[in-house]
């Protein structure tokens, strides 16, 4: 067991990948000499060389496209998109090519590409550096999407993403890059399956489902709720596509109330999918409608007002109050 930050855990996970898998390579802008704008790939080029830690031209579509080509040749590229807001030039390659190549080829071709994207806000940054575009990709069949909330998950999930034969997008919560936690680098333990949700805190009065950057916020909210005498169960979804509906359903059948929170805007967000599906699966168990907490329907606002935009402990507790009032 070692203590490390999420950034370091990903770094170690990438290192393990490069060590264990000769066909794996990293590619992205500034990942080599600089070690990545968040230092997530720090030190790797020194140990693995420029052929395996590739500083690419500044061209997201080119990065994803060449990664696809490399994977067709039998390699397992791990692309980094520098910031969430800059993934869009590569959106075409991701949705029309990467997601569909296996299906288009009737199963003959596989494109095991991993795309790492730092996402989310709360870092006081400028435009396009605080986005949460996961719903846009979740809506595209053929992709898998996971998002670690803690260092142990980060260490293992990046490796599991590389091992997966399907294309995987790993959304890394950038404002949690410096969050420290215990990592067992020997065995994944409960994190053996990246596509399963984890119940982080048991409760009986309501279930809060979160992922990525909001996980610590939800846990804090549950703690505060406990002081008010409410027992809140917190689930870290971990995988956005596929979603582990079984774990959420079982929880809602126990608690009867569901709140889903994400930084991404509520309208058209993942919370809607969860709400609809849980309504179907656990209708008779619901004491209240599913309540979603998310960003407002507006472009991500300027740093000075981002606090009013992002779901925080008060927003989650407000949703809890509403749910309990039914």
């Amino acid at each position: 067991m070692t203590t490390m930050t999420i950034a370091k855990a990903i770094n170690e996970g990438l290192r393990a990948t490069l060590n264990n898998n000769p066909r794996a390579l990293l590619m992205g802008e500034d990942i080599g000499a600089l070690g990545g704008v968040y230092r997530v790939t720090d030190g790797l080029i020194a140990d693995f060389g420029a052929d395996r830690v590739v500083d690419t031209p500044l061209a997201e579509s080119g990065i994803i496209g060449t990664a696809i080509g490399l994977s067709l040749r039998g390699y397992q590229p791990v692309c980094e998109i520098q910031f969430d807001g800059f993934v869009f030039p590569g959106f075409n390659q991701i949705t029309t090519q990467l997601a569909k190549m296996h299906s288009r080829s009737n199963g003959n071709l596989t494109v095991p590409v991993v795309i790492r994207i730092p996402y989310g806000g709360g870092i006081g940054s400028i435009e396009h550096h605080s986005e949460s575009p996961e719903a846009l990709f979740a809506h595209t069949a053929g992709l898998r999407i996971i998002t670690p909330s803690n260092p142990h998950d980060a260490y293992w999930m990046i490796q599991q993403a590389v091992d997966c034969q399907d294309p995987v997008i790993v959304f890394e919560p950038k404002r949690r890059y410096w969050l420290k936690g215990e990592v067992d680098t020997e065995t994944p333990g409960a994190s053996a399956d990246p596509f399963k949700a984890h119940v982080l805190r048991e409760g009986t009065d309501a279930t809060v489902v979160v992922y990525g950057p909001l996980v610590p916020v939800a846990l804090a909210a549950a703690e505060a709720a406990a002081e008010d005498g409410h027992s809140v169960e917190v689930i870290d979804l971990r995988s956005i596509s596929p979603i582990d509906f079984d774990t959420v359903t079982a929880s809602v059948q126990k608690t009867g109330r569901l709140i889903v929170a994400h930084e991404a805007p509520t309208f058209g967000g993942i919370g809607g999918e969860i709400a609809a599906r849980i309504s179907e699966r656990a209708f008779h168990s619901l004491e209240a409608p599913v309540i979603r907490v998310g960003g407002f329907h507006m472009p991500y606002p300027v740093a000075k007002v981002e606090e009013d935009y992002l779901p925080d402990i008060d927003r989650i507790l407000e949703a809890l109050d509403r749910a309990l009032a039914y």
Binding site: G181, A190, K254, R281, S285
Partner: protein, 508 residues
């Protein structure tokens, strides 16, 4: 001779119709594959249509200048050639001179060379325009599947119960009632983050057992009426309380409340005006007669035993969650019924009848029944009835559950048939459903034993020297002392209790 029809194709990605501008052939003409048949005009352009058939044109089906929909037959061509043509010009279909074909293998059928190979198969034409939306519904033989409904609810619950949540649960399913030291199992088991690890044991228990299922509108109605859903008997397919259940509950309450207010006759009024006279007839008359017969003919002895039914409660919970019992109402009564059958087999005299003067003789006989028609006392709109489940001993657990469901639904609807009430061999009266702990029931005439199944409540119980809450019920049984002595009745009751305490004995 085959007549081939060529249907107007969609030549432009979604066109719906076209006009036949000019025919290039007429009836009687010989055509080869790909000879131009006509020119059509679509919304996009003017297009020539090549013939898919070789043969003789028999009829032009659409005149020039007429617009038809994609899919309409426009020409028919018979595969008989009217006049033998000499070597046709390009695009002629000459027989291949080369013995070894260069691409793929054509079928050995010589007739297939060239002419017939072009005939479209009976399959659908591709690109025949945007398909018209169906306006009639396809007939169904079974209801559309509900995407993950009760089964999934149940399965998910089972899955959650079976798999320890995040390996940190201090409340593994089967351990939920015992071992306080499992509560707050040390966090070193968890490989997770610095999250809060305190499970709430009490909440978990009530959460798993006491959940009332109801649709949101029903919950609202219940709330508005001030009804506690837990008090209402649920009859929904998935075990939920329905609107109708609320209505009948409410009607009952109303009736009671209305009457309660005005029940007491005012003092000062004449006595005879304060006495309500109800004639005895129908079910009331029959019931009274039976009660008298039974009470005075059979010397009743009642015995009681307290049982720790926790394992039965647990078993019932598992059954509810099991896919096998999806949609079937399961309650502790099911286990009790099984217990009674099991115990009766070991103590046969309880499943018998005292017969006076059989065949006109002066003596009496005890008829021990080697079958169990298990009666369940039911309160129906018409009064107390005791329908029985025939040959209950042959039923599997699931079949018995179904039979109990059926019996209860029929009785509640007031539709129990006389035949169902005849031939019973042993009866259970489920007074627990009425909130009563135990009682001294009166034996159903013609039988020699009756079991009273009262409430199952959490009570302090001593286990391994410690006082902990367990689910306790007091079983009551009344027996006809002419047939069943004290020791037999005791053994019988003890056997029933043993099953309630450990349902796994049923596997014996």
């Amino acid at each position: 001779m085959t007549l081939n029809k060529f249907n107007l194709p969609d030549v432009g990605e979604g066109l719906t119709e076209a006009e036949i501008v000019a025919w290039k052939v007429k009836a009687g003409d010989t055509v080869a594959i790909n000879d131009v048949l006509c020119e059509i005009e679509t919304a996009k352009s003017l297009v020539e249509l090549p013939s898919p058939f070789a043969g003789t044109v028999t009829e032009l089906l659409v005149p020039e200048g007429v617009t038809v929909e994609v899919g309409t037959p426009i020409i028919s061509v018979s595969d008989a050639v009217a006049a033998q043509t000499p070597a046709a010009p390009a695009p002629a279909t000459r027989a291949p001179a080369v013995a070894a074909p260069m691409y793929g293998t054509l079928p050995a059928d010589p007739a297939d060379a060239g002419e017939q190979a072009g005939r479209p198969a009976g399959g659908p034409l591709v690109g025949s325009g945007p398909k018209a939306d169906a306006v009639k519904r396809r007939r169904r033989i079974s209801a559309s599947p509900a995407p993950s409904a009760a089964g999934r609810e149940a399965t998910a619950a089972a899955a959650a119960a079976a798999a320890p949540v995040a390996e940190r649960v201090g409340v593994e399913a089967h351990d939920i009632w015992i071992n306080p030291d499992t509560v707050g199992r040390p966090a070193d088991e968890a490989a997770g983050p610095a999250g809060d690890l305190r499970p709430t044991l009490g909440g978990a228990i009530s959460g798993l057992v006491g959940k009332v299922l109801a649709k949101p509108p029903v919950r609202k109605i219940a709330r508005d009426l001030g009804i506690n859903l837990a008090d209402v008997v649920p009859t929904g397919a998935r075990g939920e309380v329905t609107r109708e259940d609320l209505v009948s509950y409410q009607a009952q309450r109303d009736a009671e409340v209305d009457k309660a207010d005005s029940f007491w006759g005012k003092s000062g009024r004449p006595q005879d005006q304060r006495i309500e006279r109800i004639p005895v007839k129908g079910v009331r008359k029959a019931t009274a007669k039976a009660m008298v017969e039974s009470a005075f003919a059979a010397p009743h002895v009642s015995i009681f035993v307290d049982v720790d039914a926790s394992r039965t409660m647990e078993f019932v919970k598992r059954l509810k969650a099991s896919r096998d019992f999806e949609g079937i109402k399961v309650s502790p009564l099911l286990i009790l019924a099984k217990a009674v059958i099991w115990a009766a087999a070991r103590n046969p005299s309880v499943n018998a009848t005292w017969v006076d003067n059989p065949d006109g003789s002066d003596s009496a006989e005890i008829h021990v029944k080697h079958f169990m028609n298990l009666g369940i006392a039911a309160a129906t709109p018409r009064g107390l009835m005791v329908p029985n489940i025939k040959n209950a001993q042959d039923l599997s657990l699931k079949q018995l559950a179904l039979a109990l469901n059926e019996l209860a639904t029929t009785a509640r609807a007031g539709k129990t048939q006389p035949a169902q009430m005849q031939g019973g061999t042993l009866t259970v009266t489920n007074i627990g459903a009425l909130g009563i702990d135990t009682g001294t029931p009166i034996i159903n005439p013609g039988e020699v034993a009756i079991v009273a199944f009262g409430t199952i409540k959490q009570k302090p119980w001593v286990l391994d020297g410690e006082v902990i809450p367990r689910w306790i019920t007091t079983l009551g049984g009344s027996f006809d002392h002419r047939v069943v002595d004290g020791d037999l009745s005791a053994r019988f009751m003890a056997d029933v209790a043993a099953i309630l305490e450990e349902p796994a004995l049923l596997l014996d």
